[in-house]
Amino acid sequence: MIKFLIKGLLRDKSRSRLPIMVVAIGVTLTVFMHAYITGFMGDTIEMNARFTTGHAKVMTRAYAEDASLLPNDLALMQIEELLDSLRSLYPDMSWSPRIQFGGLIDVPDSAGETRSQGTAIGWGLELIANQDELNRLDLQKALRSGHLPRKSGDALLSNSFAGKLGIAPGDEFTLISSTMNGGMAMYNFRLSGTVHFGVEIMDRGSIIADLKDVQLALEMENAAGEITGFSNTGFYDNNQAEKLSDSFNSKFKTDDEFSPVMLSLSQQGNMGQYVQMSEVWSAYVSLIFIFAMSLVLWNAGLLGGLRRYGEVGIRLAMGESKGHVYRSMIAESVFIGIAGSVTGTAAGLGFAWLLQTYGLDISGMMQGASLMMPTIIKARITPTDFYIGFFPGVISTVIGTLLSGIGIYRRQTAKLFKELEA
């Protein structure tokens, strides 16, 4: 019976080609949209995590209150001991101390006087002691000229910023900032290389140097503004991160404003709203799209049923039972739904793979943006994409046929020949 129905579908192109094409187009769009939304939202969250928030972050309570001002005078002290505690208490996370700071980059002329200047946001990261931060920020890939910091005094500048300052790898420059005690910090660096991240805020004007150098420059020995934690799975899990911060904060709870406090990514700045929005938005957009595609495919199923009004009449006139005709049409819609969904899923995954691999450059639209968002939009293929298209693809087609097929039971054998004559 199944073989017979499939043969019928294959031989009668009018019964298979158009419905399968409609289903396939709908499923392609559903799969692609889902992968696109997942990719864009996930990238934005992970990017913020890698550059600023971590999956969780430890700061002093006082620092956390004004974290956006980078108040290094309120930084964590005795961080070696704190790091040991964090590593033994939470071995599923990777912990890295960081210092974020603001300052002025001053490039000297041959007489040692100011040739060019620019304000910068700085990161002091563990670049020489281990490879974790290098890999996390993908610095090797971001490198545009020169080399990564290898020894004390080496620093990276964002590529366009170095261009504006007129400085090349090997040249020296001076960082002017504030020490942890509020004094004036002046420290000479050597430009080891330039980097480009594809993130407007990072590429506008940034300096990245080894943590030890920044500690020396800002008089922050065994101190850091923050300790960022990253899940060893590589992905942010909001529930897990919130449980972790609750656990840490209950262990280190004191009234001292310089005691450490842990905040999950979603508890920092506007990231909570973004995480919530990304979860809800992703679900809503997917649902709305699936619903819209279901209507289209349902309509296609209805049209298919109506178009075959004459054929159904002949089959009933020839003695085929109404139940048999109804069941065979539903079985056919299942085959069409499956064929369309498989084709659509394959095509949708194909387009999503292209966007995942090559990305879409929107840097032109991001100029002057203050949000940390990727300038290249990429899709992300997840296991959900392999089955999500089957919901609108199969179910809607079948429901469409189920509804349109009810008409079979309203046909009266006595009137069939009259209808067929007409």
Partner: protein
């Protein structure tokens, strides 16, 4: 009818005259303040104690200044700041740091940054112009600060490049030195507050030897600026006000 109109006109005229007289009095008071606070040149040693959330630290320095446009400061302690020098010529500021052996020129919005983490900005430090040159003044009343009678003056900027659009200043009614100052932005927001004390007489002029600065936008308990010695109208070698002197 005509009598009523004449009365009103006379009243308005009197009010206008009173307003002019108040403004003139304000200007006269400000002139006396300038006579105390400004000089052709001066040399002073000072200590600046900065109170932060984590504690306090004191920085000592020696400054030489000539008129409104030239000044040179050398930091004497603590060790981390020792040897740092600043030179102001007209509207330009250079800083020399011995640890980097670099002379850096500060300009633009960097001049609004805090000096050594204190509640003073470079702009505050650089603006030595006479108050009468920058502001028009108006007497707002009289108040007592401690046991001293003061005139309360409202100053409004009459030049484009004033760091603060308005100031409220409490001037000692007898000695004509400011005892309190509030500095406001054009929006009316209070930006800084200064409280002067320990008024001393040096070479015939009154001078507040201690000033507590409080940047209202900053946390912490403010910065205490104390002049430990001051001399007016001294001979200062001209080469001091050159970039070459920064590295010496």
């Amino acid at each position: 009818m005509i009598r009523k109109f004449t009365k009103s006109a006379l009243l308005l005229l009197l009010l206008a005259l009173a307003e002019i007289a108040t403004a003139q009095d304000g200007a006269a008071i400000l002139e006396k303040v300038d006579a105390n606070m400004s000089s052709d040149n001066r040399i002073f040693e000072s200590s600046m104690t900065i109170h932060t959330k984590r504690g306090s630290r004191t920085i000592t320095s020696k400054s030489w200044s000539e008129g409104n446009n030239k000044s040179f400061t050398e930091y004497l302690s603590p060790a981390a700041e020792k040897g740092t020098k600043m030179l102001k010529l007209e509207k330009q500021l250079w800083i020399y740091s011995p640890s980097t052996d670099r002379t850096i020129q500060l300009s633009g919005h960097m001049l609004r940054q805090s000096v050594m983490g204190s509640d003073l900005s470079y702009e505050d430090m650089m603006d030595d112009r006479k108050l009468n040159e920058i502001y028009s003044s108006e007497i707002k009343g009289q108040e007592k600060i401690g046991d001293r009678n003061t005139f309360v003056l409202l100053l409004t900027a009459k030049v484009e490049d004033a760091a603060y659009y308005t100031q409220k200043i409490w001037v000692d009614a007898e000695r004509f030195v400011p005892l309190k100052q509030e500095l406001y932005a054009k929006s009316g927001k209070l930006l800084k507050r200064m409280e002067m004390s320990n008024v001393i007489q040096v070479q015939g002029r009154w001078f507040p030897a201690t000033v507590i600065y409080k940047d209202m936008l900053k946390q912490g308990d403010g910065t205490e600026f104390k002049i430990t010695s001051i001399k007016f109208n001294q001979t200062i070698p001209p080469h001091l006000f050159t970039k070459a002197s920064l590295k010496q």
